[in-house]
C-alpha cells in the first residue's frame, strides 16, 4: 500500500543518479585516454605527496571522531519524528491527534523538550572541547 505519487520524485532522482553515474564511469573507461606514469599513479595526483602507505594502523583518536559521529547520528534519528510532529503542531493542524495541545503539548513544550535533549549533547561536546580532546599534536 505505497503512496506511489509521494515517492515518484525520489524514484526519478534515484534512476537519474544511477544512469548518470553509470554513464560517466562507462564513458571515462571507454573513451578516456590512458597514460600512466609514476606521477599519475599516486593517490592524489597534483596534490599532497603521500607519506607512507594508507594500509597501516591509524591513531586511536580517529576512533573518537567515529564515536562522536555516531552519537550525533543517533541524535538526528530522534530529531526526525520530532521535526515532523513540530511542523504540524506549529501550523496548528494536528487534527488527527485529538486533544494534543489541550493537554499542554504546545510548540513551546516541544521546543523545550528537544532543547533539553540538545543541550545535554552540546554540553558533552563543549566538555570534550575544553578537555582538549580535539587537540592533535
Amino acid at each position: 500500500m505505497l503512496a506511489v505519487a509521494e515517492f515518484a520524485p525520489v524514484a526519478i532522482l534515484l534512476a537519474a543518479l544511477v544512469l548518470i553515474a553509470g554513464a560517466i564511469l562507462a564513458a571515462s573507461h571507454l573513451i578516456g585516454p590512458r597514460r600512466s606514469g609514476p606521477v599519475k599513479d599516486i593517490p592524489y595526483e597534483s596534490g599532497v605527496d603521500p607519506i607512507g602507505d594508507a594500509r597501516r594502523r591509524f591513531n586511536v583518536r580517529f576512533y573518537l571522531v567515529a564515536v562522536l559521529f555516531l552519537v550525533f547520528d543517533v541524535e538526528i534519528i530522534f530529531l526526525y519524528p520530532w521535526a515532523v510532529l513540530f511542523l504540524k503542531v506549529a501550523q496548528g493542524s494536528i487534527a488527527d491527534v485529538a486533544g494534543f495541545e489541550s493537554l499542554g503539548y504546545g510548540p513551546g513544550f516541544l521546543a523545550a523538550s528537544v532543547g533539553f535533549f540538545f543541550f545535554l549533547l552540546a554540553a558533552g561536546f563543549v566538555y570534550e572541547w575544553r578537555k582538549g580532546v580535539f587537540q592533535w599534536d
Partner: protein, 197 residues
Amino acid sequence: MSERIRLALIGLAVLVAVTLMGLAALLSSRPLEAFAFSVFAGALVTSALAIVLTRDIVRSAMWLMGALSSAAGLYFLLGANFLGVVQLIVYAGGILVLIVFGVMLTGRSPFLRFDPRPAETALAALVGVLLFAAFSAVLLGSAWPPLPGAVPVRQAATVREIGRALLTDYLLPFEVVSVLLLAVMIGAAYLARPVRR
C-alpha cells in the same frame, strides 16, 4: 579478459536483469511496486552474495553498504519510513563507518584478507542453513491476515505518531537517551584520551 569487455558484460547483465524485472512487474497488478521490489531485492541478494564471496575486508564492507541500503529501500516500500531512515542513518551511515574504522585501527597486514579454513566455511554454511530454515519456518507458519483493502497507510502520519509517543508518553526515556549519549561521549573521550608525559 580485457577490462572493456568485462565492463560491457557487467552493463549488459544489469540491463538484461532490469528489463526482465520490468517485464515481470508488468504482469503484476501494481507494476511500480513490483518493479521497485525486484530492484531492491535483487540488489540486496547481489550485495549479500558479494559480501560473502569477496576476500577483501574493505570491499566486503562496501558491499555491506549496498545490502543495508537495499534493505532500507524495502522498508520504504513497506511504508515503514522511520525504520528505513534509521536503517540508512544508523546502519549504512554509522555502523559501516565503525567497521571501516575498525579495519583502519587494527589492520596489521598491508592487505587484510579473509582466508577461511574449510572447517570455518562448513560451520558458516551450517549456521546459514539453520537460520534460513528457522526464518522459513516462521514465514510459512505465520498467518498473514489480508489487509483491509481501502485503508492506505498514511506515510508521514506513522512518523508523526512515533514523534507524538516519544514526546508525550515516553518523554522521560527520550530525555534519558540524551544522558546515555552524553555518557558515551565522555566515555569515548576518556578511553581515547591523550597520554600525558
